[in-house]
Every structure is written in structure tokens, then in C-alpha cells.
């Protein structure tokens, strides 16, 4: 069976950010990431004009 790409992603990003992820925590981290990505996808799917500013706007 092919490895789940999300497992590879957790490995790579965890290393890039120097985050320790013990094997025992991995299922919960993965489950939480799946929820976050599912919800982020809901936002991603929503079309916004290119000109849309983010909620926070820098003021000099």
C-alpha cells in the first residue's frame, strides 16, 4: 500500500520547523491536521476578488 502523502508531509514540515513529533503523537497530530486542512479547504474554495485585502491592514 502506498504511503499516505500526509504522513510524508508531516515528516518533512516537522523537520523543516524542527518540531519533535514522537510516534505516539503522530496519529493525533495527523487527525488534527486533517481537520484543519478540511476546514481550510472550505475557505480556499470560496472565490474572492484579487483585490481583496486581508482583515488586518498594515498602517505605517
Amino acid at each position: 500500500m502506498a504511503a499516505d502523502p500526509l504522513d510524508s508531509y508531516i515528516d518533512v514540515v516537522g523537520k523543516a520547523l524542527a518540531l519533535p513529533i514522537e510516534d505516539a503523537w503522530r496519529p493525533a497530530v495527523k487527525a488534527n491536521l486533517e481537520v484543519s486542512l478540511r476546514l481550510a479547504r472550505l475557505v480556499d474554495e470560496f472565490p474572492l476578488p484579487d483585490e481583496t485585502e486581508p482583515a488586518s491592514v498594515f498602517a505605517a
Partner: protein, 465 residues
């Protein structure tokens, strides 16, 4: 007048003290005695500041004896969620890790302002770790317990604030609300809570969670006390970058104004889904009392909740990144695993969530052109049992922890002011959100006050406390 401080509101306590019918010291001692008697069960306090409180109370009594007026909260005991800096205490924010911080050298701005109005700080309160919580459970300090049924959750993350006010230990408490952490414990513990407009009250010298969502605010057992505390804490503060520069906008004198001209609508769609019958009943009671028949659809509320979730998890992860590297085993595992996952959400998705937030804000502000108040459930259900992991919502088994705040998140996402009002259903109370346009706390508080006068909203007395 009932001279038992356990039964008095904050305003009655202050009037009695200023009127020489009680002393601030006797009120402080009574609060400390109540805490000593009941908090082994409620587990709402993590720190007592008894010596400081007695010294402060004596100073107030001395000021009154000298003919001075110490302020509208003269001698009123209050406590704060333990993410507020309290001089001499390490700001633990519900964590094990932060106990290693140096003791704070100065109080949070809101504590200073409460004390400037005469209030007396008696301690710091239990909370969910780093405020990433809706339950009021804490693996390090144990759960705060619901005063109406100690086998149930207080809600969180300001769980100790809910238990201490609902359990009659103090008449006022302060907490924080990032995604619902004032409104959820208010709902579960049957008390009033105010989440003001984002930027209205200073967060200076409090431990953050999600900078763009964090609010601080008061809890009380009646609307007059809530307004008194809110008025005492308003005002600009250069120490909080998000704190507004608006002039103080007192509301206490406005509460009794007629609300007949206000346009009240019920939140439809998303806010009528995923609710238990008790939440439906509570909203119906409020709607009936206010004569509200119109329903408004807050567009894309589910997406707003999703965006709030995403921004919370990445801002939380960013805040704690170094602690996750250095001390991962000292976190509550449930909090740690969510934060680790939050660190891995790709940046473009977060940027899109912040852009969606601006779009959504514009849509909701458009609604407020034709409506003054929106009413919605504060929680989908009454307080679940401590340790309960899932509940059935609309026939689907869902995790309790993540879903308690589904009706609060789309509102704090754009910083709207909300008063959570307790509806005294039996056997457990539940809250309703009274939501107003930005900077219109006065309207939300006036409506809450009207509901209180009609007997629809009330903080029920727990049987045991």
C-alpha cells in the same frame, strides 16, 4: 437590605460599603471564607491573593473613613482568569510550562482599572491550557466544576471564571474570549458574560492566544454588575496595539432605556442547525420576549467558523513554536497535538482565511444596517459531563471539544460585541448570544437588561452553593 455579602450584587456591596453598612474587609473575609468552603469542589481558583486583598480592603475602609469615595466598585471582590498578569504571580495561562516564568512585576491593565474603581482582587482562576479549550478541563490543575452539577463541565476556556461567579464565590470575574471562552462558560454556568468589540478593552499584560481574535471581558450574575465592570475597564491603552483610541463610552446609565425601537432578528440557517432542543427553547424564549419574528441569514457562517478555526490554530502554533520544540512533553497532549498540526497548515490558506474574514465582515455589517440586534445560541447544548468526548448533533457523533463553540466562533471572528445571557432552564441553564454591531455594547447590554427585568434571563442559584 440583606447584609449577607453572599447574596448581594456588586453594586449593592459597593453601596453598602460606601454607606458604612459593611466594611470592605468584612466583605473580603466573607469571599475568602466562601472560597475556602466551596472551592475544593468547584476547583475554580488556582491562586489566592488573600494578603493583598485584605490590605486593599483595609485601604478602602480607611479611604471611606476619611470621607473619600473609592469608586463604583468599592470593596467588591473579583478574580481573574490566570492568564492575566498579577503582580507577584507567574502567569501560568493554564499551563505547566509558564509556571517557570518570573513572577509578574505589574498587574494587567484591566486589574489596575478594576482596582482603581475600588474592586478587590482575591485570586486567579483555573482555565484550559493556553486558552485552547472549550471545556474548562485542565490536565495540570484538574477541571473546574459546574456549580449547577459538579459532574458537568464549566465550559472553557475561562472555566474558573464561570464556576467562581456561578458558584457565588465572587460577584465579578474577568476572562478572555478568543473563539467563545467567555460566552461558553457563561452559558454552561448560568451567568452573564460580555465579550466586547475587538479592541474595546485593553489586553495589556495578559497572556495571548490568537492576537487577532483575543478579547478580555467580565462575568457577573446580573447585567448592572456586568456594565459596572465594563465601564470601569474602558479606555485607550498604548500597551495594547489593538486597543482602540475611542473615548470611554459608559453604559451603566443607559441600561434602563426603552428597547422598543430596536430591531431584533433571530440568526437563521447555520445558527439553527447543530443544536439540541434546549438551545432551541432558550432562543425561542428570548425571541418571544423581544417580539422578534424576523430571521436573518448570516452568510457563509460555516465558512467563517472554518476560517476562525484555521487562523486560531496557526496563530496559536506560531505563539508556542519554541515551547513545542523545547518542552513538548510539558503540554496537555491534546493541546500540543493541535498546535503541532497548526504549525503545518500552509501559509496561503491562512492568508485566504484573513481575506475571507474581510469579505465576511462587510456582509455582516450590511445586515446591521437593517437590524440592531441578532440573537443566536451561545452553545449547542447545556453543559456536557466532565470527560465527555462526543455528542450526537443532528444524528452525527461529533467531538465535544471542537464543537462546543460552533455558534460563538463566527461572531468573535469579526469582533462583534456580545452579551451571553443565561436562560434558567431546568435542570441546567443555557445561554443565548445577544449580538450587536461593532462598538454597540450599549445596545446588547440594554437588551440583556430588559430580558433580565422580564425574568427571561437570570443567573439561577445553584442548589449546593
Amino acid at each position: 437590605m440583606n447584609a449577607n455579602p453572599d447574596e448581594l450584587s456588586a453594586s449593592e456591596i459597593a453601596r453598602s460599603i460606601v454607606g458604612h453598612r459593611m466594611t470592605a474587609l468584612s466583605v473580603t473575609e466573607a469571599a475568602l471564607a466562601r472560597i475556602a468552603k466551596h472551592d475544593s469542589i468547584l476547583n475554580s481558583f488556582t491562586d489566592l491573593t488573600a494578603d493583598r486583598a485584605r490590605a486593599r480592603a483595609k485601604a478602602i475602609d480607611a479611604a471611606i473613613a476619611a470621607g473619600q469615595n473609592p469608586g463604583p466598585l468599592a470593596g467588591v471582590p473579583f478574580a481573574v482568569k490566570n492568564l492575566f498578569d498579577v503582580q507577584g504571580l507567574s502567569t501560568r495561562a493554564g499551563s505547566r510550562i509558564n509556571r517557570d516564568l518570573k513572577p509578574s512585576s505589574r498587574d494587567a491593565t484591566l486589574i489596575e482599572r478594576m482596582e482603581a474603581a475600588g474592586a478587590v482582587l482575591v485570586g486567579a482562576l483555573n482555565m484550559g491550557e493556553y486558552a485552547y479549550d472549550f471545556t474548562g478541563e485542565n490536565v495540570h490543575d484538574g477541571p473546574s466544576r459546574n456549580p449547577h452539577d459538579v459532574t458537568r463541565m464549566t465550559g472553557g476556556s475561562s472555566g474558573g471564571s464561570g464556576a467562581a461567579v456561578g458558584g457565588r464565590l465572587v460577584p465579578l470575574a474577568l476572562g478572555s474570549d478568543t473563539n467563545g471562552s467567555i460566552r461558553v462558560p457563561s452559558s454552561f454556568c448560568g451567568i452573564f458574560g460580555l465579550k466586547p468589540t475587538y479592541g474595546r478593552l485593553s489586553r495589556a499584560r495578559s497572556f495571548p492566544f490568537v492576537a487577532s481574535f483575543d478579547h478580555l471581558g467580565p462575568f457577573a450574575r446580573n447585567v448592572g454588575d456586568l456594565a459596572l465592570a465594563y465601564d470601569a475597564m474602558q479606555g485607550p491603552d498604548a500597551d495594547d496595539a489593538a486597543c482602540c483610541t475611542r473615548a470611554v463610552d459608559p453604559v451603566s446609565g443607559l441600561l434602563a432605556q426603552d428597547i422598543g425601537g430596536l430591531r431584533v432578528a433571530i440568526a437563521g440557517g447555520y445558527f439553527q442547525k447543530n443544536v439540541f432542543p434546549e438551545a432551541v427553547e432558550a432562543v425561542a424564549r428570548v425571541a418571544k420576549a423581544l417580539g422578534a419574528t424576523k430571521t436573518v441569514e448570516i452568510p457563509e457562517a460555516a465558512r467563517a467558523r472554518a476560517a476562525a478555526y484555521v487562523i486560531s490554530t496557526i496563530e496559536g502554533a506560531s505563539l508556542h513554536l519554541d515551547r513545542l520544540r523545547r518542552r513538548p512533553n510539558d503540554f496537555d497532549p491534546a493541546v500540543r497535538d493541535r498546535l503541532l498540526a497548526g504549525a503545518m497548515v500552509p501559509a496561503p490558506l491562512v492568508d485566504r482565511a484573513q481575506k475571507f474574514r474581510r469579505w465576511y465582515r462587510a456582509q455582516v455589517l450590511e445586515i446591521f444596517k437593517s437590524v440592531d440586534v441578532i440573537i443566536a445560541p451561545a452553545t449547542p447544548c447545556v453543559a456536557p459531563k466532565l470527560g465527555q468526548v462526543t455528542f450526537m448533533l443532528d444524528g452525527v457523533e461529533l467531538p465535544v471539544r471542537a464543537n462546543i463553540g460552533i455558534h460563538t466562533q463566527p461572531i468573535s471572528f469579526i469582533g462583534l460585541p456580545v452579551v451571553a445571557v443565561p436562560i434558567p432552564l431546568q435542570p441546567m441553564p443555557i445561554g443565548v448570544q445577544i449580538i450587536a454591531a461593532p462598538w454597540r455594547e450599549d445596545i446588547a447590554l440594554r437588551v440583556a437588561h430588559a430580558l433580565e427585568r422580564m425574568g427571561v434571563a437570570a443567573a439561577p442559584r445553584p442548589k449546593e452553593f
